[in-house]
């Protein structure tokens, strides 16, 4: 019988070790990323290589955290006021009122538990609110960016240098006010730096 128990214990220990190794392995695998290729949008937030959201975007985190702090402090202060009100006046505690004191303590302990639960719930709600707010904000930023690009390029389409080369038009060079334009199949282009890339922008 003892040997059976021993085997069970050994099995449990071995299985636990396997379990812990599995956890470590899962930890190690987390956070991997992949990329691939096909045709294509070429830009995006990851191309910026910045650790922070663009400075031009509205900063919401500070107001959010201050709201969060106010809420948390408010609940803590309310809790401490309640606690003070239930404490016996100094000098009134004696053997006669000990049962009441014990009851008070029990009540107080229950109050504290309730308050902690409320605070935890508050924190959970706040965290959830923050997550929702962050997701909304990310969505908003994404929409803003799409609108921005849409407005920016409406009526201002462009072609890359490689596409320009493959168009095969015998363009005509026109210099107006010191700026060189290229007329190709009745469309006027200007060669510009668009970000870090040279492109031909349609100007008419």
């Amino acid at each position: 019988m003892k040997s059976t128990q021993g085997k069970v214990v050994v099995s449990l220990v071995l299985a636990s070790v396997v379990c812990l190794l599995a956890v470590d392995f899962a930890e190690a695998r987390r956070g991997g990323g992949r990329g691939g290729g096909h045709s294509m949008t070429r830009g995006g937030p990851a191309a910026s290589g910045s650790m922070h959201r663009s400075q031009a975007r509205p900063q919401r985190s500070s107001s959010r955290s201050s709201m969060s702090n106010q809420r948390y402090q408010g609940s803590r202060q309310a809790g401490s006021r309640d606690y003070a009100a239930q404490r016996p006046e100094p000098g009134t505690a004696n053997r006669d009122n000990r049962p009441e004191m014990n009851q008070d303590r029990l009540d107080q302990r229950q109050d504290n538990i309730d308050q902690r639960r409320d605070t935890n719930q508050d924190r959970y709600d706040q965290r959830q609110e923050n997550i929702n707010e962050r997701q909304d904000f990310a969505k908003e930023v994404h929409n803003d960016r799409e609108e921005w690009y849409e407005d920016r390029w409406r009526g201002h389409s462009y072609v890359s240098v490689s596409v320009w080369g493959s168009m095969g038009c015998s363009y005509r060079r026109v210099v107006v006010g010191g700026v060189t334009y290229y007329d190709c199949n009745g469309v006027r282009y200007e060669r510009v730096y668009r970000g870090s890339e040279v492109v031909y922008v349609v100007v008419n």
């Binding site: 299985a15 990323g33 995006g44 937030p45 191309a47 910026s48 910045s50 668009r194 970000g195």
Partner: protein, 263 residues
Amino acid sequence: MHYRIRILASLLTAAFCLSAHPQTAESPEAPEIEPEALSVLQAMSDFLAASDEFYYEIDTTYDVVQPSGVKYEFGVARKNLVARPDRLHTEAIRRNGVAGTMIFDGKHIWAYSKEANVYAQTEQVGDLVESIEFAVSELRIKAPLSEIASPDLFASITRDLETAYYLGENVVRGVTSDHLFLRNDYADVQLWVATGDEPLLQRIVIDYREERGQPQFRAQFSNWNMAPKNTREKFTFVPPKDAERIRFYVAAPPSDSNQEDAK
């Protein structure tokens, strides 16, 4: 009978493992900043701040999330020469072979394409940090990891920091490095900083967890030189005689798109 007991015990343990897994795999909830992680960042920042001129190369790759949701990887190799307070020379070569040079000479920002034989020029206002900010936000030029040029890299990296973990030592391309995990309100960042007397950045991975598709940016650093020589000529741009001057395409606000200034 003994056999059944063993099987039962194993099953119970396996069930325990499976129930424990999701909790272990969750990201940390409580904000936590480990002093050891901060001290590595501080040492790296101090070391870079001690040199006004330095050179490094980065091989960057990044995901671009397509409308369909799939991610494609692009890449650019860059050679950067930094001279504080206001000069920068950067050469970039994309994977498709397109190359470009960007120079901040303290008075002007120059962009030059040898392939297209064109250049653009605009006024440079402010120090390197301000100029890079201008180039990124107004000229829409990509300047990944430009925080490195900041004289206070520590402040720049730790802005809005929520989590900082020291994960241990790793060897990155033969360089023993401290591995850190940082989280701010926008991205998750992993850094590998060389241990020893020259705590220089070896690798960085940024996860844009708030962006659609959660794309990733990765950069591998190499050939750090904290005392580059004969740098003056690198910050002086003389356009080739036959090169054509073109304009930076700068968009006007959406409401005023007809008056776009391509200066």
